[in-house]
Subunit: 291 residues, 4 copies
Amino acid sequence: MPMGERRIFWVIGGDRRQAALVRALQEDGHEVHACALEQGVEESLREESLRGIEKAHCVILPLPAGDGVFVNAPLSAQKPAFEEVLDAMSPGQVLCGGMVSCAWKQEAEQRGITLTDYFDREELAVSNAVPSSEGAIQIAMEELPITLHGARILILGYGRLGKVLARQLHGLGARVTVSARKYADLAWIRAMGWEAVSSHDLTGILEGRDLILNTVPALILDREALGKVDPGCMVIDLASKPGGVDFEAAEELGVKTVWALGLPGKAAPVTAGLAIRDAIYNILSELGESL
Amino acid sequence: MPMGERRIFWVIGGDRRQAALVRALQEDGHEVHACALEQGVEESLREESLRGIEKAHCVILPLPAGDGVFVNAPLSAQKPAFEEVLDAMSPGQVLCGGMVSCAWKQEAEQRGITLTDYFDREELAVSNAVPSSEGAIQIAMEELPITLHGARILILGYGRLGKVLARQLHGLGARVTVSARKYADLAWIRAMGWEAVSSHDLTGILEGRDLILNTVPALILDREALGKVDPGCMVIDLASKPGGVDFEAAEELGVKTVWALGLPGKAAPVTAGLAIRDAIYNILSELGESL
Amino acid sequence: MPMGERRIFWVIGGDRRQAALVRALQEDGHEVHACALEQGVEESLREESLRGIEKAHCVILPLPAGDGVFVNAPLSAQKPAFEEVLDAMSPGQVLCGGMVSCAWKQEAEQRGITLTDYFDREELAVSNAVPSSEGAIQIAMEELPITLHGARILILGYGRLGKVLARQLHGLGARVTVSARKYADLAWIRAMGWEAVSSHDLTGILEGRDLILNTVPALILDREALGKVDPGCMVIDLASKPGGVDFEAAEELGVKTVWALGLPGKAAPVTAGLAIRDAIYNILSELGESL
Amino acid sequence: MPMGERRIFWVIGGDRRQAALVRALQEDGHEVHACALEQGVEESLREESLRGIEKAHCVILPLPAGDGVFVNAPLSAQKPAFEEVLDAMSPGQVLCGGMVSCAWKQEAEQRGITLTDYFDREELAVSNAVPSSEGAIQIAMEELPITLHGARILILGYGRLGKVLARQLHGLGARVTVSARKYADLAWIRAMGWEAVSSHDLTGILEGRDLILNTVPALILDREALGKVDPGCMVIDLASKPGGVDFEAAEELGVKTVWALGLPGKAAPVTAGLAIRDAIYNILSELGESL
């Protein structure tokens, strides 16, 4: 996966994922400058100013890139503003970031700089499903008094995360059931060897489970549904906001529930950083091809 | 999966898949009439004429449905013509078939009968990937003097069949590598635990294999590529016509090659018949919903 | 697995495993009395004295059973003495416990009571390998900044725990290598699909790993061996006392090490409790047969 | 696995396994002479007489080694007598063979030659379980009209072959149940993730299966048991003579039965030959250590 030529990268801000990204780029033989990341990278790579950034083949903002004014920099005492970064760059340079706002994209474009969002890359979303799945499994192991081996587990939804969860949980020895709406997805679930249930009607599929993992970003586990969950069954909600569980009802009904967000960066920041690196290589490769 | 109400089915022609379909429909509690399938079904279900077909909730033609004039009926001494079937049916009745020609569709439509092709159903294509994969594995077991456990296997293409092959061969203990073009597919291959290689350049990925399974319907394994295959490595081509291997070159170069087509019906006709049943239930369910 | 007849069980002391055992016995339809376990079981099952214990078909002490004088009772304000239990029982009654001292066995025998150690049962040791393995996996997930999927993991030893660890870690997508001494074990490791390395010489097998799990109860990872471990590689020692790692050397060399003991009761007390129940059923079944 | 030093091997007689053994020894850098194997090995390695055999570090007889007088040599027009081989060898030389009779062992010993039976090696028995399992799977794929994926399969016995069968069939997606007698084996079956059933009573465990694989060398599937097998269920007997199935009763009852013997050499002679090579290396290594 390492690119053939030695390139110059600037990494601005970020968490442990960006720190891992810096190390990985360096190990691949590139010249790397890290700014506003001083608690994450070794001294020789740290930059206190943006001087020299105009020579970068690629400038990398974190994931998420930042809010209205500032680049996200939790591992730094610095607070770099997005404008500063743009000011220091030259038109035509490559700038990447994750979960970038439209405002920032427009601002960059006005300066002649294309800001590419690596979080939009399908391959990154796929790669991130693995640390998300392991993060969810870790939570389940921590919270449940039974082994996942032999546990009766229902996964709601057969998207990216559902697929990886099913595979890993089956690999641990769990009895995996997956729900989906589409006939083709139900056929896939069976072809992979899991039990398939249609999610058109939740009645009858929530009972008899030790663990329910929701991956569908819609309020599926409402008060009525939660009322059908077995006592002792745990619910882990992996859906992004607004989530798929009525948490208030869950608490009232005594259903143990964890809403797990941002798992890749928490559970496996190094793996998540390598996935960002791969996405950036792919972006650069495509930009190179399109020249 | 069985439908709630008892329905009347007529099954016309077909091979062991249709015979299995007839049995499965009957076991699900439906009324089944089989015509031109006398070597495949028990006597009590056989019909010698099409009398009564106008009461059918669903008339099922085989896969493939047939050629210009006749319905495909290899398990019968009869030779039912498609026109005969249409003549005996009433407008508004449901007619299904697999790999139906445009001409037949139009002919049916002119009589006010919608002819639905169940082979177009995504869920059937997914389900068929399993018997196709097992058929290919059976051929590999028969032909190779080594076990698949421990064998170094390259799968070209990560479509439906590639996915199931990778999973089953890994399950047998093979060392599985899968090639794909798209970044997201390569990420999926890795997320599933197989080794991923880009198919942009075949150089260097064909060497060191004991078995190469092609699923890509394009002439990938041409003379040049075949020249790189290790002595003793076997090639199984699973791509539909015109196939993915230059068979002439393979013979000249001494590369053992098998072109395996129509595997579901050969390797596991009963499983393939059940998949057709499920697709037909889904078609009927959708037609019912759309009323 | 539930036994045919309704029996009377007394459970004295214990942790969450015994609490789970009480519930499981009750769900199987038996009459259960719990003593010195009041924080673990519902009120209706609690006994404040040992009155009535002479009617028990089986009296169950915890795991570990206790020290010189007292039965182990961490979930209770009571402190039952082993002598008290014996005093309340009648000769010929069945008494079980886990990790029972020789002194206690002799004491029981002098009273005409056979004290059977369920921790000596092979099937319990096998069953316990599963929660031990999951406990180790949980620790690895918590401590490592990478996913176990794709991680290069070395398991030292192919006994009960090594076998289950290999299977579960492989199931998560890890690249598993297992070391063993005996030729037959090495053949087994290969037959299961893992990479096998001989442990006759550790040189060359410790390098290039992200995680090393030791299951061998001997000082394998001494200072010299630890010096060969990659930076960032984590060591989890699962060997019972005295352990398999020179922890002092590990700390000096900066090798992150966790010594994980008693995992079944910590990671999955309910599963561990069910395994105790099964062992006790088997003991009773064998006693019944031998009558 | 290749041994450090270049050694001289003589291989006498044998089938495709010995032919593969010859090639493998040569690829490992040894000097190899093949006698009575001319249809299996290239010309340059063939020997027409035993001249020079006295320089061999190891002389290898086939598996099975042969009957009363002659070495087994199905790939040859020659018929070497065992006595001839002994006559040509010198006392102290190493001689190996598979399934060697006591008579031959004694005869060799009288000449001062130790004849070691590599078929007695546990690691060879383990390694052979893999080609046996794949041979059985191939037969099942050829004979059954359903896919093994999703099939309800019962494996009788959890010895070497049962373990590998369970793993590979599960890997294909089958629903695997394994029977055993001992509590510890039942615990192992569950710990591996298969369904466990006690074989103390076959009643109730034979029903509802699509395939039954017997690995127990005792008449388990007698007339009464076969009467309980579902119509359409297939039985593959993998037990060595006298076998575990009453074949006469099976035929009368219409239960499709295959008695599969000698699978490693048939299904995967090259893999089986490599396993013999490994066993011979281990024998030589142990003989070397004991000097």
